[in-house]
Amino acid sequence: MRPDDRKYTTTHEWVKIDGDTALLGITDFAVQELSNGNTSDLVYCDLPEVGREVKAGQTFGEIESVKAVSDLNSPVSGQVVEINHTIEEHLEVLAKDPWTTGWMVKLKLSSKSVDGLMDAAAYEKFVADSKH
């Protein structure tokens, strides 16, 4: 079971809200999809500048594996207050621990709306259904 202290998107990002801030990251399923099980297949990650406003559903960054570039979509709206620079240099962190040390961006929330996002149980089902 994936962590139930956060919400999930259909494009495999997670958001963990704590007061008026939130951490964003991508799920183990996203990492597996991109890397096909080979950590070294993750090659680049572009994260936003601190201060940038992002809106729910919009792109906040991009990640490249050996075979694809994928957008990173924000589950919530807010202003970027911190980014995890470790990710940009050490993408293997995402494979080891996408839930804690693998966070990507910290936002100061402009809205706490999580409409349309899934809880852990719904995300489990979504992932199971997409493995066809």
């Binding site: 494009t11 999809e33 096909n36 075979k67």
Partner: protein, 242 residues
């Protein structure tokens, strides 16, 4: 059985080629579209995250662009270039990245077999075309790549955005000084044109996806969006983005 669009544009400008692919990627709700195209002038495309300085000799190409798909640089000359733009939910893309590559490459292998080339996945083999520090797509291989004559002959990359996927593919008909000793159809047949191979790939993809292709041209709004989006691809600030 569904119907896909097929758009064929031989000898098009690099800005148009990249702009139309992006337009077909970012416009929600468009039907799945297969494009066959070639380039005029010959064009070197950088992978989305590549630095121009990582590709020695890039300026020798007739034009330079940065793709929005990943991977290494490709010199688009003497090749059949294709793209597939569709929702991520279509069967071709189901089951993840590696699976979708497997399906597209299975179709390409079938097309090449019908053309007289026995292409195989690289697997764990080492390739004579692998070379360090050139930044070129055809000099770097993975287990999923299609090969013949012990060399890489098909380049592939995807962009995943907003629930849609753009798959870029290049099948080498011949080589160029920038790409050197790689696999190409020239080893089997002299003077192959992109339009010679395209019907074979069309037929193999139709069998793979269980759909028919309907020849089409871009609608006016698609052409306008392609023109607008295409301008940045050769712009110095985009080529030098990294």
């Amino acid at each position: 059985m569904g119907t896909w669009r097929l758009i064929t544009t031989w000898g098009a400008a690099p800005e148009f080629n990249m702009g139309l692919d992006e337009a077909l990627l970012v416009t929600p709700g468009l039907p799945p579209t297969l494009r066959f195209y070639s380039w005029k002038p010959d064009t070197l495309s950088l992978g989305y995250f590549q630095k121009l300085s990582e590709v020695p000799g890039a300026e020798r190409a007739g034009a330079l662009v940065r793709r929005i798909t990943g991977g290494g640089a490709i010199h688009h000359v003497r090749e059949l270039t294709f793209s597939i733009s569709a929702d991520m939910s279509i069967d071709l893309y189901a089951g993840g990245l590696a699976t979708s590559y497997g399906r597209v490459h299975a179709a390409i292998a079938r097309a090449l077999a019908n053309f007289g080339v026995d292409a195989k996945l690289r697997g764990e083999a080492s390739l004579a075309s692998d070379r360090a520090n050139t930044g070129m797509c055809f000099h770097h291989s993975t287990a999923l790549d299609l090969t013949w004559d012990g060399r890489k002959g098909v380049g592939s990359a995807q962009r995943r955005k907003g629930g849609r996927v753009l798959h870029h593919g290049s099948i080498k008909l011949g080589t160029s000084p920038l790409e050197g000793d790689i696999a190409s159809l020239e080893s089997r047949r002299k003077s192959v044109a992109p339009s010679d191979l395209a019907p074979f790939l069309r037929e193999a993809l139709a069998a793979e996806i269980g759909a028919e292709f309907e020849a089409s041209v871009p609608e006016r709004d698609e052409r306008e969006l392609a023109r607008e989006l295409g301008q940045r691809y050769t712009a110095r600030e985009f080529v030098n983005l990294r």
